[in-house]
């Protein structure tokens, strides 16, 4: 039986949409960019090499928690084995679930991939191809409600990546007071990750959005207004931080593999 815009009682229009603009362009770009990142990140997660070039650690491998990790790649030690049941496991696989989960459950990325990947809907006022829809009311999509847990985990990762960006002010002999192109790349990536996290809707809620009386909590209210201003730019930070992480990893990989030389300013 016809449903949606083709329901019996609605205006008889045979087109799924009458939009005349290029509504398909945005989901297409989103799909292409996210897909490219997924393919690259998957390749890197399994590559299991070229993630460290003193003093630079790739954000896709940090903290490097496996016993197979190179010394100096984790401030938290190496609690995991490099093999389980005889199968070698890349250290990236122990940690990537957290930043991945944070982005996967992010309200902005949800909008993006529901439109671009699942076409639910592909664009506003463009009929979706699915016969049924239950949204985020049942498994697996009800797990989107776990976003705040990934947000908290993401903050821990931001602290670790800040540590990585800080030690990037050393040279290859571990002497402080130096700066290279790699330092700038890691600092930029980390700053963008912090902005992405702080502008997050869950952060906005936790800081003050959940309050009923702002007047009783002036400091939280003030902080909430700052976070709200950042929240306007959340989609921008989501994309820039994604590119920042990808570029930081590419840079570290190229330096670690010997393809590029990490130029030191001082």
């Amino acid at each position: 039986m016809a449903t949606g815009v083709f329901s019996e009682s609605r205006a008889k229009i045979k087109e799924r949409t009458l939009r005349t603009d290029r509504w398909w362009l945005q989901p297409l770009i989103t799909f292409s960019v996210l897909m490219s990142f997924i393919v690259y990140a998957t390749f890197r997660a399994f590559e299991n090499k070229y993630y460290f070039a003193e003093p630079l650690v790739s954000p896709l491998y940090s903290p490097c928690l496996s016993t197979a990790c190179v010394d100096g790649t984790s401030p938290l030690g190496q609690p995991f084995n490099s093999q389980y049941f005889g199968i070698g496991i890349s250290p990236a696989l122990f940690i990537l679930i957290f930043p991945l989960g944070f982005r996967l459950t992010c309200y902005y990325y949800r909008k993006s991939y529901y439109r671009a990947f699942w076409m639910s809907p592909p664009a506003c006022a463009v009929a979706e191809p699915h016969a049924k829809y239950t949204g985020e009311t049942r498994a697996p999509l009800i797990l989107q409600n776990s976003h705040r847990w990934f947000f908290y985990a993401g903050l821990v990762f931001n602290v670790i990546l800040t540590y990585d960006a800080t030690i990037a002010f050393r040279n290859e002999e571990k002497e402080w007071g130096h700066m290279s192109v790699g330092t700038l790349v890691l600092v930029f990536s980390t700053v963008m990750l912090w902005l992405y996290s702080l502008s997050c809707h869950t952060c906005r809620h936790t800081i003050g959005g959940r309050l009923k009386h702002f007047s009783k909590h002036p400091i939280r209210y003030k902080t909430w207004t700052w976070i709200s201003a950042l929240n306007h730019k959340h989609p921008t930070f989501a994309w820039i931080s994604l590119f920042g992480v990808a570029f930081a990893d590419i840079y570290v990989r190229q330096v670690a593999s010997g393809a590029w030389t990490n130029f030191y300013f001082f």
Binding site: T3, G4, V5, S7, E8, S9, R10, A11, K12, I13, T17, L18, R19, T20, D21, Y107, R110, K111, Y114, R115, S120, P121, C124, A125, V126, A127, E128, H130, K132, Y133, T134, G135, E136, T137, L141, I142, N145, S146, H147, R148, H201, T202, R204, H205, G209, R210, L211, K212, H213, F214, S215, K216, Y221, N231
Partner: protein
């Protein structure tokens, strides 16, 4: 300067209908509703169209213009490129009555299902005092003119008629958010009801409601997502749940 414009207007009722081509004169500064009125006055005397204020404040002239839900009185003819045909149809999420007029009673039924404001029992009328910073979030939602463009564009009901039973829609999520953020509202289970009875969980935050709102209310960012987070507080966050039990408070103050 006057120019000739090609319009395609949907004409018909629930049994049948289709797009009719007309050519109409358009003058500088005119909006699509002006063209529809000119067509009605000169070529289609029985064309049905709902309108009232012609100032973007009554929310009556909601329709779809080139496939996008818009107010006809706020859509400048000059916003379309020279020579582009303009297609005007009724809202496609609601039953059509005649031509450009749809039956939007779904929204009124949903409005009646939303629990109203509950005043504190210890405050007599006239005794209530609120600070501006406590009410300004809710005031954004009071700008709603009930044009129902957000309801029309929301794919949850637009593309799935069967969901109308269990889904209130973005207009009523801002109503729920307005009341839940109200500093004096005493209703305890508004968040649970939003999730369990009004279908908040069905929203997948694709933000089309925000895109079409003529009052530029940030429906998704300021109402729906905050409500989803408040639902997480009471339904999916064991730490907050435990904290509320230990500290003997609702968790939101």
């Amino acid at each position: 300067m006057a120019r000739k414009l090609k319009l395609r207007i949907w004409r018909g009722d629930a049994t049948d209908g289709g797009l009719k081509n007309v050519e109409v004169e358009a003058n500088d500064g005119e909006v699509v509703l002006d063209l529809i009125h000119r067509v009605q006055a000169t070529q289609m005397g029985d064309l049905a169209v709902r309108w009232n204020c012609k100032a973007g404040k009554c929310g009556s002239c909601s329709m779809e213009i080139n496939g996008k839900p818009r107010l006809a009185c706020m859509t400048q003819v000059s916003s379309f490129p020279e020579g582009e045909e303009i297609t005007v149809t009724p809202l496609r999420a609601f039953p059509v009555i005649k031509d450009l007029v749809t039956d939007v009673s779904f929204n009124y039924r949903k409005a009646m299902e939303i629990p109203s404001y509950e005043h504190p029992k210890n405050l007599a009328p006239g005794e209530a005092r609120m600070e501006q910073i406590d009410v300004e979030r809710s005031q954004e939602f009071r700008k709603c003119i009930e044009c129902f463009l957000c309801q029309d564009v929301c794919h949850v009901v637009r593309d799935h008629e069967e969901n109308k039973k269990s889904f209130a829609g973005p207009r009523f999520f801002i109503r729920i958010a307005e009341l839940d953020m109200h500093p004096l509202d005493m209703l305890k289970n508004r968040k649970q009801k939003a999730q369990e009875e009004h279908g908040l969980g069905m929203c997948n935050i694709t933000k089309c409601c925000t895109e079409v709102c003529p009052e530029h209310i940030r429906i998704t960012d300021n109402a729906i997502i905050p409500m989803k987070e408040r639902v997480v507080d009471v339904k999916y966050d064991p730490v907050r749940w435990l904290g509320s039990k230990i500290r003997k408070r609702e968790g939101i103050v």
